[in-house]
Protein backbone atom coordinates (compact mmCIF):
# COMPACT_ATOMS: atom_id res chain seq x y z
CA UNK A 1 0.00 0.00 0.00
CA UNK A 2 1.76 3.15 -1.24
CA UNK A 3 0.97 6.45 0.49
CA UNK A 4 -1.56 8.63 -1.30
CA UNK A 5 -0.21 10.68 -4.22
CA UNK A 6 -0.93 14.40 -4.24
CA UNK A 7 -2.64 15.57 -7.42
CA UNK A 8 -2.59 18.85 -9.28
CA UNK A 9 -5.73 19.83 -11.15
CA UNK A 10 -5.52 21.54 -14.55
CA UNK A 11 -8.55 23.26 -16.05
CA UNK A 12 -9.15 24.80 -19.45
CA UNK A 13 -12.51 26.36 -20.34
CA UNK A 14 -14.31 26.90 -23.66
CA UNK A 15 -16.98 29.57 -23.43
CA UNK A 16 -19.81 30.14 -25.91
CA UNK A 17 -21.03 33.74 -25.86
CA UNK A 18 -24.20 34.72 -27.74
CA UNK A 19 -23.73 38.16 -29.31
CA UNK A 20 -26.38 40.85 -28.85
CA UNK A 21 -27.02 41.56 -32.52
CA UNK A 22 -30.45 42.47 -33.93
CA UNK A 23 -30.26 39.74 -36.56
CA UNK A 24 -28.70 36.33 -36.89
CA UNK A 25 -25.16 35.67 -38.10
CA UNK A 26 -26.17 34.68 -41.63
CA UNK A 27 -29.77 35.84 -42.14
CA UNK A 28 -31.75 39.05 -41.61
CA UNK A 29 -34.03 37.45 -39.04
CA UNK A 30 -34.76 38.53 -35.45
CA UNK A 31 -31.97 37.17 -33.26
CA UNK A 32 -33.95 37.46 -30.02
CA UNK A 33 -36.29 34.46 -29.87
CA UNK A 34 -36.92 34.71 -26.12
CA UNK A 35 -40.61 34.16 -25.48
CA UNK A 36 -41.31 33.71 -29.19
CA UNK A 37 -43.04 30.68 -30.71
CA UNK A 38 -40.96 27.74 -31.99
CA UNK A 39 -39.60 28.18 -35.52
CA UNK A 40 -40.98 31.73 -35.72
CA UNK A 41 -37.46 33.20 -36.21
CA UNK A 42 -36.35 30.93 -39.06
CA UNK A 43 -35.48 32.14 -42.55
CA UNK A 44 -35.06 29.87 -45.59
CA UNK A 45 -31.33 30.28 -45.02
CA UNK A 46 -31.54 29.07 -41.41
CA UNK A 47 -33.82 26.25 -42.61
CA UNK A 48 -31.11 25.32 -45.12
CA UNK A 49 -33.33 25.10 -48.18
CA UNK A 50 -31.43 24.09 -51.35
CA UNK A 51 -29.57 26.99 -52.95
CA UNK A 52 -29.58 29.22 -49.88
CA UNK A 53 -26.41 31.22 -49.18
CA UNK A 54 -25.19 32.76 -45.89
CA UNK A 55 -25.28 36.57 -45.56
CA UNK A 56 -22.69 37.61 -42.98
CA UNK A 57 -23.83 40.11 -40.33
CA UNK A 58 -21.20 42.88 -40.18
CA UNK A 59 -22.22 43.82 -36.63
CA UNK A 60 -21.10 40.38 -35.41
CA UNK A 61 -17.65 41.04 -36.86
CA UNK A 62 -17.48 44.41 -35.08
CA UNK A 63 -18.63 42.92 -31.78
CA UNK A 64 -16.02 40.16 -32.10
CA UNK A 65 -13.33 42.82 -32.47
CA UNK A 66 -14.63 44.56 -29.33
CA UNK A 67 -14.74 41.26 -27.42
CA UNK A 68 -11.17 40.44 -28.45
CA UNK A 69 -9.97 43.85 -27.37
CA UNK A 70 -11.70 43.44 -23.99
CA UNK A 71 -9.64 40.25 -23.48
CA UNK A 72 -6.34 41.91 -24.45
CA UNK A 73 -6.29 39.71 -27.55
CA UNK A 74 -4.55 40.27 -30.85
CA UNK A 75 -7.13 40.79 -33.61
CA UNK A 76 -6.09 38.83 -36.70
CA UNK A 77 -6.54 41.13 -39.71
CA UNK A 78 -7.02 38.10 -41.97
CA UNK A 79 -9.56 35.47 -41.00
CA UNK A 80 -12.11 33.32 -42.80
CA UNK A 81 -14.93 30.88 -42.20
CA UNK A 82 -14.90 27.09 -42.33
CA UNK A 83 -17.51 24.36 -42.36
CA UNK A 84 -17.60 21.84 -39.50
CA UNK A 85 -19.57 18.79 -40.63
CA UNK A 86 -21.85 16.66 -38.48
CA UNK A 87 -25.34 15.23 -38.93
CA UNK A 88 -27.90 16.15 -36.28
CA UNK A 89 -31.45 17.49 -36.47
CA UNK A 90 -30.36 20.74 -34.75
CA UNK A 91 -27.90 21.43 -37.60
CA UNK A 92 -29.98 22.10 -40.75
CA UNK A 93 -27.04 22.56 -43.15
CA UNK A 94 -25.34 19.38 -41.96
CA UNK A 95 -22.43 21.61 -40.99
CA UNK A 96 -21.78 24.52 -38.66
CA UNK A 97 -20.15 27.63 -40.10
CA UNK A 98 -17.26 28.42 -37.76
CA UNK A 99 -13.62 29.60 -37.95
CA UNK A 100 -11.28 26.64 -37.62
CA UNK A 101 -8.18 27.41 -39.69
CA UNK A 102 -7.94 31.18 -39.15
CA UNK A 103 -10.03 32.69 -36.33
CA UNK A 104 -10.65 36.42 -35.99
CA UNK A 105 -9.41 36.70 -32.38
CA UNK A 106 -5.85 35.67 -31.48
CA UNK A 107 -4.01 35.17 -28.19
CA UNK A 108 -4.62 37.35 -25.13
CA UNK A 109 -5.49 37.12 -21.43
CA UNK A 110 -7.93 38.23 -18.76
CA UNK A 111 -7.05 39.16 -15.16
CA UNK A 112 -9.15 37.73 -12.33
CA UNK A 113 -10.06 39.84 -9.25
CA UNK A 114 -7.34 37.89 -7.41
CA UNK A 115 -4.83 39.39 -9.85
CA UNK A 116 -4.21 36.01 -11.52
CA UNK A 117 -3.89 36.08 -15.32
CA UNK A 118 -5.62 33.41 -17.41
CA UNK A 119 -4.38 33.28 -21.00
CA UNK A 120 -6.82 33.14 -23.93
CA UNK A 121 -5.65 30.76 -26.66
CA UNK A 122 -7.96 32.24 -29.34
CA UNK A 123 -11.63 33.01 -29.97
CA UNK A 124 -13.69 32.58 -33.12
CA UNK A 125 -17.03 33.49 -34.65
CA UNK A 126 -19.59 30.76 -35.33
CA UNK A 127 -23.30 30.05 -35.57
CA UNK A 128 -25.32 28.42 -32.77
CA UNK A 129 -27.37 25.24 -33.25
CA UNK A 130 -31.12 24.69 -32.94
CA UNK A 131 -32.90 23.09 -29.99
CA UNK A 132 -34.36 19.62 -29.56
CA UNK A 133 -36.95 18.62 -27.00
CA UNK A 134 -37.44 14.95 -26.26
CA UNK A 135 -40.63 13.02 -25.61
CA UNK A 136 -41.46 9.38 -25.00
CA UNK A 137 -41.16 8.15 -28.57
CA UNK A 138 -40.20 11.22 -30.61
CA UNK A 139 -38.25 14.47 -30.51
CA UNK A 140 -39.22 17.95 -31.73
CA UNK A 141 -36.91 20.37 -33.54
CA UNK A 142 -37.06 24.15 -33.00
CA UNK A 143 -34.66 26.07 -35.25
CA UNK A 144 -35.12 29.53 -33.70
CA UNK A 145 -31.60 29.48 -32.25
CA UNK A 146 -29.94 28.33 -35.48
CA UNK A 147 -27.10 30.69 -36.43
CA UNK A 148 -27.48 33.03 -33.51
CA UNK A 149 -24.02 34.64 -33.55
CA UNK A 150 -21.55 33.20 -31.06
CA UNK A 151 -17.95 33.73 -30.20
CA UNK A 152 -16.28 30.70 -28.69
CA UNK A 153 -13.49 31.71 -26.29
CA UNK A 154 -10.84 29.06 -25.68
CA UNK A 155 -8.69 29.52 -22.56
CA UNK A 156 -5.27 28.04 -21.97
CA UNK A 157 -5.14 25.37 -19.23
CA UNK A 158 -4.07 27.98 -16.66
CA UNK A 159 -6.85 27.41 -14.14
CA UNK A 160 -5.85 25.49 -11.02
CA UNK A 161 -8.90 25.12 -8.76
CA UNK A 162 -12.69 24.95 -8.68
CA UNK A 163 -12.85 28.43 -7.18
CA UNK A 164 -10.54 29.77 -9.86
CA UNK A 165 -12.71 28.16 -12.55
CA UNK A 166 -15.72 29.95 -11.07
CA UNK A 167 -13.81 33.25 -10.85
CA UNK A 168 -12.63 32.93 -14.46
CA UNK A 169 -16.15 32.30 -15.76
CA UNK A 170 -17.61 35.07 -13.64
CA UNK A 171 -14.96 37.58 -14.69
CA UNK A 172 -15.39 36.58 -18.34
CA UNK A 173 -19.15 37.06 -17.95
CA UNK A 174 -18.56 40.51 -16.43
CA UNK A 175 -16.14 41.51 -19.20
CA UNK A 176 -18.54 40.37 -21.94
CA UNK A 177 -21.49 42.23 -20.39
CA UNK A 178 -19.49 45.40 -19.66
CA UNK A 179 -18.06 45.32 -23.22
CA UNK A 180 -21.67 45.14 -24.46
CA UNK A 181 -20.89 41.92 -26.34
CA UNK A 182 -23.79 39.92 -24.91
CA UNK A 183 -27.00 40.33 -22.90
CA UNK A 184 -25.24 38.00 -20.45
CA UNK A 185 -28.48 36.29 -19.46
CA UNK A 186 -27.08 32.99 -18.17
CA UNK A 187 -30.50 31.51 -17.50
CA UNK A 188 -31.35 31.87 -21.20
CA UNK A 189 -28.02 30.38 -22.25
CA UNK A 190 -26.41 33.62 -23.42
CA UNK A 191 -23.16 32.19 -22.04
CA UNK A 192 -22.36 28.46 -21.81
CA UNK A 193 -19.21 26.95 -20.42
CA UNK A 194 -17.44 23.68 -21.37
CA UNK A 195 -14.90 22.82 -18.68
CA UNK A 196 -11.93 20.51 -19.37
CA UNK A 197 -10.49 18.94 -16.24
CA UNK A 198 -7.46 16.70 -15.78
CA UNK A 199 -5.44 15.52 -12.81
CA UNK A 200 -1.74 14.77 -12.70
CA UNK A 201 0.62 13.91 -9.82
CA UNK A 202 2.03 17.13 -8.27
CA UNK A 203 5.07 18.35 -10.17
CA UNK A 204 4.51 16.02 -13.13
CA UNK A 205 5.49 17.55 -16.48
CA UNK A 206 2.71 15.93 -18.47
CA UNK A 207 -1.03 16.59 -18.11
CA UNK A 208 -3.41 13.77 -17.23
CA UNK A 209 -6.27 12.56 -19.41
CA UNK A 210 -9.03 15.15 -19.41
CA UNK A 211 -12.78 14.90 -19.17
CA UNK A 212 -14.94 17.68 -20.62
CA UNK A 213 -18.06 18.81 -18.79
CA UNK A 214 -20.31 20.44 -21.36
CA UNK A 215 -22.90 23.19 -21.20
CA UNK A 216 -22.58 24.55 -17.68
CA UNK A 217 -24.44 27.84 -17.30
CA UNK A 218 -24.14 28.90 -13.66
CA UNK A 219 -21.05 29.82 -11.66
CA UNK A 220 -22.19 27.70 -8.75
CA UNK A 221 -22.57 24.59 -10.93
CA UNK A 222 -19.15 25.23 -12.50
CA UNK A 223 -17.53 25.20 -9.06
CA UNK A 224 -19.50 22.17 -7.87
CA UNK A 225 -18.89 20.23 -11.10
CA UNK A 226 -15.14 20.79 -10.91
CA UNK A 227 -15.07 19.73 -7.26
CA UNK A 228 -17.02 16.59 -8.08
CA UNK A 229 -14.85 15.81 -11.10
CA UNK A 230 -11.69 16.29 -8.99
CA UNK A 231 -12.77 13.71 -6.44
CA UNK A 232 -14.09 11.35 -9.14
CA UNK A 233 -10.82 11.38 -11.07
CA UNK A 234 -8.77 11.23 -7.85
CA UNK A 235 -10.64 8.10 -6.76
CA UNK A 236 -9.96 6.46 -10.15
CA UNK A 237 -6.27 7.34 -10.11
CA UNK A 238 -5.82 6.30 -6.48
CA UNK A 239 -7.39 2.96 -7.37
CA UNK A 240 -4.85 2.69 -10.22
CA UNK A 241 -7.58 3.03 -12.83
CA UNK A 242 -7.59 5.22 -15.95
CA UNK A 243 -9.57 8.40 -16.57
CA UNK A 244 -11.15 8.08 -20.03
CA UNK A 245 -11.16 11.08 -22.31
CA UNK A 246 -14.88 11.79 -22.72
CA UNK A 247 -17.65 14.33 -22.63
CA UNK A 248 -19.63 14.38 -19.37
CA UNK A 249 -22.85 16.10 -18.39
CA UNK A 250 -23.50 17.82 -15.05
CA UNK A 251 -26.73 17.49 -13.09
CA UNK A 252 -27.44 20.14 -10.46
CA UNK A 253 -30.02 17.81 -8.96
CA UNK A 254 -27.72 14.84 -8.33
CA UNK A 255 -24.57 16.93 -7.97
CA UNK A 256 -22.82 14.44 -10.24
CA UNK A 257 -21.26 14.35 -13.71
CA UNK A 258 -22.19 11.43 -15.96
CA UNK A 259 -20.61 10.11 -19.16
CA UNK A 260 -22.23 11.31 -22.41
CA UNK A 261 -20.05 10.52 -25.40
CA UNK A 262 -16.67 8.85 -25.25
CA UNK A 263 -14.08 10.57 -27.46
CA UNK A 264 -12.95 7.10 -28.56
CA UNK A 265 -15.52 7.27 -31.34
CA UNK A 266 -14.67 10.97 -31.64
CA UNK A 267 -16.21 12.53 -34.72
CA UNK A 268 -14.18 13.56 -37.76
CA UNK A 269 -15.60 16.99 -38.57
CA UNK A 270 -13.92 17.28 -42.01
CA UNK A 271 -13.32 21.04 -41.70
CA UNK A 272 -13.43 22.75 -45.10
CA UNK A 273 -12.99 26.43 -46.03
CA UNK A 274 -16.45 28.01 -46.50
CA UNK A 275 -16.75 28.82 -50.24
CA UNK A 276 -19.90 30.92 -49.87
CA UNK A 277 -18.34 33.68 -47.72
CA UNK A 278 -15.55 36.04 -48.82
CA UNK A 279 -12.63 36.18 -46.37
CA UNK A 280 -12.17 38.98 -43.83
CA UNK A 281 -9.26 41.39 -44.12
CA UNK A 282 -9.70 44.04 -41.43
CA UNK A 283 -7.75 47.28 -41.66
CA UNK A 284 -5.93 48.71 -38.64
CA UNK A 285 -8.33 51.66 -38.66
CA UNK A 286 -11.36 49.38 -38.61
CA UNK A 287 -9.98 47.48 -35.62
CA UNK A 288 -9.03 50.71 -33.81
CA UNK A 289 -12.45 52.25 -34.38
CA UNK A 290 -14.28 49.20 -33.05
CA UNK A 291 -11.86 48.81 -30.11
CA UNK A 292 -12.54 52.42 -29.11
CA UNK A 293 -16.23 51.59 -28.77
CA UNK A 294 -15.45 49.25 -25.85
CA UNK A 295 -16.90 50.75 -22.62
CA UNK A 296 -15.00 50.75 -19.27
CA UNK A 297 -14.41 47.21 -17.97
CA UNK A 298 -14.41 45.82 -14.40
CA UNK A 299 -10.62 46.13 -14.30
CA UNK A 300 -10.93 49.85 -15.10
CA UNK A 301 -13.36 50.38 -12.22
CA UNK A 302 -11.13 48.41 -9.83
CA UNK A 303 -8.35 50.80 -10.73
CA UNK A 304 -10.60 53.87 -10.46
CA UNK A 305 -12.01 53.00 -7.00
CA UNK A 306 -8.86 51.34 -5.60
CA UNK A 307 -8.57 53.99 -2.84
CA UNK A 308 -12.18 55.16 -2.45
CA UNK A 309 -14.10 51.87 -2.16
CA UNK A 310 -13.17 48.73 -0.18
CA UNK A 311 -12.44 45.83 -2.55
CA UNK A 312 -15.11 43.47 -1.17
CA UNK A 313 -17.78 46.19 -1.47
CA UNK A 314 -16.71 46.98 -5.04
CA UNK A 315 -16.72 43.31 -6.14
CA UNK A 316 -20.38 43.06 -5.06
CA UNK A 317 -21.23 46.17 -7.06
CA UNK A 318 -19.27 45.02 -10.14
CA UNK A 319 -21.85 42.31 -10.78
CA UNK A 320 -24.08 45.19 -11.93
CA UNK A 321 -22.58 47.26 -14.77
CA UNK A 322 -25.19 49.99 -14.34
CA UNK A 323 -24.19 50.46 -10.65
CA UNK A 324 -20.48 50.62 -11.45
CA UNK A 325 -21.19 53.18 -14.19
CA UNK A 326 -23.39 55.27 -11.85
CA UNK A 327 -20.72 55.15 -9.18
CA UNK A 328 -18.20 56.51 -11.67
CA UNK A 329 -20.64 59.35 -12.49
CA UNK A 330 -21.00 60.15 -8.79
CA UNK A 331 -17.23 60.40 -8.50
CA UNK A 332 -16.95 62.85 -11.39
CA UNK A 333 -19.90 64.85 -9.98
CA UNK A 334 -18.83 64.83 -6.35
CA UNK A 335 -16.58 67.47 -4.79
CA UNK A 336 -16.31 65.94 -1.33
CA UNK A 337 -14.37 62.70 -0.93
CA UNK A 338 -16.70 60.25 0.74
CA UNK A 339 -19.68 60.58 -1.66
CA UNK A 340 -18.35 57.62 -3.65
CA UNK A 341 -17.71 55.38 -0.67
CA UNK A 342 -21.07 56.32 0.88
CA UNK A 343 -22.91 55.64 -2.40
CA UNK A 344 -20.99 52.37 -2.78
CA UNK A 345 -22.23 51.36 0.67
CA UNK A 346 -25.81 52.29 -0.16
CA UNK A 347 -25.51 50.11 -3.31
CA UNK A 348 -23.81 47.17 -1.63
CA UNK A 349 -25.57 47.03 1.76
CA UNK A 350 -28.96 48.67 1.11
CA UNK A 351 -29.89 48.25 -2.57
CA UNK A 352 -28.38 44.78 -2.96
CA UNK A 353 -29.81 43.57 0.35
CA UNK A 354 -32.20 40.67 -0.31
CA UNK A 355 -35.33 42.69 0.46
CA UNK A 356 -34.46 45.59 -1.89
CA UNK A 357 -32.97 43.82 -4.92
CA UNK A 358 -36.26 44.18 -6.79
CA UNK A 359 -35.51 47.93 -6.99
CA UNK A 360 -32.82 47.13 -9.59
CA UNK A 361 -35.65 47.06 -12.12
CA UNK A 362 -36.84 50.54 -11.08
CA UNK A 363 -35.10 53.80 -11.92
CA UNK A 364 -31.67 54.11 -10.41
CA UNK A 365 -31.14 57.51 -8.66
CA UNK A 366 -29.11 59.97 -10.70
CA UNK A 367 -25.51 60.86 -9.87
CA UNK A 368 -26.71 64.33 -8.77
CA UNK A 369 -29.32 62.86 -6.40
CA UNK A 370 -26.81 60.42 -4.92
CA UNK A 371 -24.18 63.12 -4.52
CA UNK A 372 -26.58 65.46 -2.70
CA UNK A 373 -27.84 62.61 -0.55
CA UNK A 374 -24.37 61.70 0.65
CA UNK A 375 -23.54 65.36 1.30
CA UNK A 376 -26.70 65.82 3.43
CA UNK A 377 -25.76 62.69 5.32
CA UNK A 378 -22.25 63.86 5.99
CA UNK A 379 -23.55 67.27 7.16
CA UNK A 380 -25.81 65.40 9.60
CA UNK A 381 -28.84 66.92 7.90
CA UNK A 382 -30.03 63.34 7.61
CA UNK A 383 -29.69 60.53 10.10
CA UNK A 384 -28.37 57.33 8.47
CA UNK A 385 -31.83 55.75 8.77
CA UNK A 386 -33.37 58.85 7.16
CA UNK A 387 -30.74 58.80 4.38
CA UNK A 388 -31.51 55.15 3.61
CA UNK A 389 -35.23 55.99 3.51
CA UNK A 390 -34.65 58.83 1.04
CA UNK A 391 -32.31 56.59 -1.03
CA UNK A 392 -34.94 53.85 -1.35
CA UNK A 393 -37.70 56.37 -2.17
CA UNK A 394 -35.57 57.88 -4.95
CA UNK A 395 -36.13 54.68 -6.98
CA UNK A 396 -39.84 55.52 -7.27
CA UNK A 397 -40.74 56.94 -10.65
CA UNK A 398 -42.75 59.75 -9.09
CA UNK A 399 -39.61 61.15 -7.47
CA UNK A 400 -37.36 60.98 -10.53
CA UNK A 401 -37.31 64.72 -11.04
CA UNK A 402 -36.87 65.73 -7.38
CA UNK A 403 -33.56 66.57 -5.81
CA UNK A 404 -32.57 64.50 -2.78
CA UNK A 405 -33.16 67.57 -0.61
CA UNK A 406 -36.65 68.20 -1.99
CA UNK A 407 -37.57 64.61 -1.27
CA UNK A 408 -36.04 64.67 2.23
CA UNK A 409 -38.01 67.86 3.00
CA UNK A 410 -41.19 66.32 1.62
CA UNK A 411 -40.62 63.29 3.84
CA UNK A 412 -39.87 65.60 6.73
CA UNK A 413 -36.58 63.90 7.50
CA UNK A 414 -34.12 66.80 7.69
CA UNK A 415 -32.47 66.97 11.13
CA UNK A 416 -32.56 70.05 13.39
CA UNK A 417 -28.92 70.95 13.96
CA UNK A 418 -29.36 74.65 14.84
CA UNK A 419 -28.32 74.57 18.55
CA UNK A 420 -30.31 77.73 19.49
CA UNK A 421 -33.49 76.08 18.25
CA UNK A 422 -32.51 72.84 19.96
CA UNK A 423 -31.89 74.61 23.30
CA UNK A 424 -35.41 76.03 23.20
CA UNK A 425 -36.82 72.55 22.81
CA UNK A 426 -34.56 71.17 25.55
CA UNK A 427 -35.58 73.96 27.94
CA UNK A 428 -39.21 73.25 27.17
CA UNK A 429 -38.64 69.61 28.13
CA UNK A 430 -36.70 70.45 31.25
CA UNK A 431 -39.47 72.82 32.36
CA UNK A 432 -41.94 69.98 32.05
CA UNK A 433 -42.64 68.74 35.62
CA UNK A 434 -42.84 65.17 34.32
CA UNK A 435 -39.09 65.24 33.76
CA UNK A 436 -38.06 66.73 37.10
CA UNK A 437 -37.43 63.43 38.84
CA UNK A 438 -35.35 62.17 35.91
CA UNK A 439 -33.29 65.37 36.02
CA UNK A 440 -32.71 64.80 39.72
CA UNK A 441 -31.69 61.18 39.13
CA UNK A 442 -29.21 62.24 36.42
CA UNK A 443 -27.64 64.87 38.65
CA UNK A 444 -27.38 62.12 41.27
CA UNK A 445 -25.28 60.24 38.73
CA UNK A 446 -27.85 57.91 37.11
CA UNK A 447 -26.40 58.06 33.59
CA UNK A 448 -29.04 55.89 32.00
CA UNK A 449 -31.94 58.30 32.51
CA UNK A 450 -30.23 60.58 29.99
CA UNK A 451 -31.63 58.30 27.31
CA UNK A 452 -35.16 58.96 28.61
CA UNK A 453 -34.59 62.73 28.52
CA UNK A 454 -33.13 62.59 24.98
CA UNK A 455 -36.18 60.60 23.99
CA UNK A 456 -38.45 63.29 25.38
CA UNK A 457 -36.60 65.95 23.37
CA UNK A 458 -36.74 63.86 20.22
CA UNK A 459 -40.47 63.43 20.75
CA UNK A 460 -40.86 67.19 21.26
CA UNK A 461 -38.87 67.75 17.99
CA UNK A 462 -40.94 65.17 16.17
CA UNK A 463 -37.79 63.18 15.43
CA UNK A 464 -36.01 65.97 13.62
CA UNK A 465 -33.47 66.79 16.34
CA UNK A 466 -29.96 65.44 16.03
CA UNK A 467 -29.72 63.07 19.07
CA UNK A 468 -26.00 63.55 19.68
CA UNK A 469 -26.42 67.34 19.65
CA UNK A 470 -29.34 67.01 22.09
CA UNK A 471 -27.23 64.92 24.48
CA UNK A 472 -24.51 67.55 24.55
CA UNK A 473 -26.96 70.33 25.42
CA UNK A 474 -28.62 68.23 28.15
CA UNK A 475 -25.25 67.44 29.74
CA UNK A 476 -24.35 71.14 29.65
CA UNK A 477 -27.65 72.20 31.19
CA UNK A 478 -27.74 69.50 33.87
CA UNK A 479 -24.10 69.86 34.80
Amino acid sequence: MTEKTEYEITIGIETHVQLKTKTKLFSEVDNDARGKEPNSCVSPIDYALPGMLPRLNGEAVKIAVRAGTAMNCKINPRSRFDRKHYFYPDSPKGYQITQFYSPIIGAGFITLPSGKKVRIEHAHLEGDAGKLSHFDDYSLVDLNRVDTPLIEIVSMPDIKSAAEARDYCKELWRIMTYADVTEGDLYNGNMRFDVNISLAPKGSKTLGTRAEIKNLNSFRSIERAVEYEYSRQKKLLDAGEKVIQETRGWSDATGKTTSQRSKEEAQDYRYMPEPDLPPLNLSEDFVKTEAKKCPALPADYREQFKTSVPAETLEVILDYPELARRLAEVESAASSGNAVEYTANLFASVLLAEENQSLLNDNLPSAAQLKELSEMKSKNELSSTAAKEVFLKLFETKHVNKSARELAKELNLIQENDSAALEKIVDKVLENPATKSAQADFKAGKEKVLGFLVGQVMKESRGKANPSAVQEILRKKLA
Binding site: E37, R55, F87, Y138, P275, N281
Partner: protein
Protein backbone atom coordinates in the same frame (compact mmCIF):
# COMPACT_ATOMS: atom_id res chain seq x y z
CA UNK B 1 -4.40 2.60 -53.13
CA UNK B 2 -6.84 -0.15 -52.10
CA UNK B 3 -9.89 0.63 -50.00
CA UNK B 4 -10.35 -1.84 -47.17
CA UNK B 5 -13.77 -2.97 -45.95
CA UNK B 6 -13.12 -0.99 -42.77
CA UNK B 7 -12.21 2.22 -44.64
CA UNK B 8 -15.30 1.89 -46.82
CA UNK B 9 -17.50 1.45 -43.73
CA UNK B 10 -15.85 4.50 -42.16
CA UNK B 11 -16.46 6.65 -45.25
CA UNK B 12 -20.04 5.37 -45.46
CA UNK B 13 -20.69 6.39 -41.86
CA UNK B 14 -19.03 9.80 -42.35
CA UNK B 15 -21.28 10.14 -45.40
CA UNK B 16 -24.32 8.85 -43.48
CA UNK B 17 -25.19 6.44 -46.29
CA UNK B 18 -26.71 2.98 -46.06
CA UNK B 19 -25.10 0.86 -48.78
CA UNK B 20 -26.13 -2.52 -50.16
CA UNK B 21 -23.47 -5.22 -50.52
CA UNK B 22 -23.42 -4.81 -54.32
CA UNK B 23 -23.02 -1.04 -53.91
CA UNK B 24 -20.11 -1.64 -51.57
CA UNK B 25 -18.28 -3.89 -54.03
CA UNK B 26 -18.86 -1.39 -56.82
CA UNK B 27 -17.75 1.56 -54.71
CA UNK B 28 -14.61 -0.22 -53.57
CA UNK B 29 -13.53 -0.62 -57.19
CA UNK B 30 -14.61 2.90 -58.22
CA UNK B 31 -13.00 4.67 -55.26
CA UNK B 32 -9.76 2.78 -55.88
CA UNK B 33 -9.70 3.95 -59.51
CA UNK B 34 -10.71 7.52 -58.70
CA UNK B 35 -8.19 7.85 -55.88
CA UNK B 36 -5.39 6.48 -58.01
CA UNK B 37 -6.36 9.02 -60.70
CA UNK B 38 -6.41 12.04 -58.39
CA UNK B 39 -3.15 10.90 -56.83
CA UNK B 40 -1.47 12.16 -60.03
CA UNK B 41 -1.19 15.42 -58.11
CA UNK B 42 1.72 13.92 -56.21
CA UNK B 43 3.84 14.59 -59.32
CA UNK B 44 3.14 18.31 -58.95
CA UNK B 45 5.53 20.42 -56.86
CA UNK B 46 3.39 22.79 -54.79
CA UNK B 47 5.96 23.78 -52.21
CA UNK B 48 5.56 27.40 -51.07
CA UNK B 49 2.46 27.72 -53.23
CA UNK B 50 -0.46 29.33 -51.36
CA UNK B 51 -3.81 27.52 -51.65
CA UNK B 52 -6.75 28.99 -53.58
CA UNK B 53 -10.16 28.32 -52.03
CA UNK B 54 -12.18 30.97 -53.89
CA UNK B 55 -11.70 32.68 -57.24
CA UNK B 56 -12.72 36.29 -56.68
CA UNK B 57 -10.99 39.34 -55.37
CA UNK B 58 -13.55 40.45 -52.80
CA UNK B 59 -13.00 40.71 -49.03
CA UNK B 60 -15.06 42.01 -46.09
CA UNK B 61 -18.39 41.51 -47.80
CA UNK B 62 -21.10 41.75 -45.18
CA UNK B 63 -24.55 43.22 -44.58
CA UNK B 64 -26.06 45.66 -42.08
CA UNK B 65 -27.62 44.33 -38.89
CA UNK B 66 -31.22 45.13 -39.85
CA UNK B 67 -34.22 42.81 -39.54
CA UNK B 68 -35.93 42.27 -42.90
CA UNK B 69 -39.19 40.48 -43.74
CA UNK B 70 -38.66 36.79 -44.49
CA UNK B 71 -39.21 35.34 -47.97
CA UNK B 72 -41.15 32.45 -46.45
CA UNK B 73 -43.49 32.04 -43.49
CA UNK B 74 -43.07 29.40 -40.81
CA UNK B 75 -46.05 27.64 -42.36
CA UNK B 76 -44.40 27.62 -45.82
CA UNK B 77 -41.34 25.94 -44.36
CA UNK B 78 -43.02 23.46 -42.03
CA UNK B 79 -45.33 22.44 -44.89
CA UNK B 80 -42.23 20.98 -46.58
CA UNK B 81 -41.43 18.53 -43.81
CA UNK B 82 -42.85 15.03 -43.66
CA UNK B 83 -44.10 15.42 -40.10
CA UNK B 84 -44.52 18.50 -37.94
CA UNK B 85 -46.22 18.88 -34.58
CA UNK B 86 -46.86 21.93 -32.43
CA UNK B 87 -45.03 24.13 -34.97
CA UNK B 88 -41.94 21.96 -34.71
CA UNK B 89 -40.36 19.31 -36.89
CA UNK B 90 -41.11 15.82 -35.62
CA UNK B 91 -38.28 13.29 -35.78
CA UNK B 92 -37.70 9.84 -34.30
CA UNK B 93 -36.59 10.07 -30.68
CA UNK B 94 -33.02 11.31 -30.43
CA UNK B 95 -31.23 9.17 -27.86
Amino acid sequence: MDITEKELEHLASLSNLSLSETEKTGLKKDLKNIISYISQLDELDVENVPPTYQVFEMENVWRDDEIKPMETSREDLLALTVESFDNQIKVPKVL
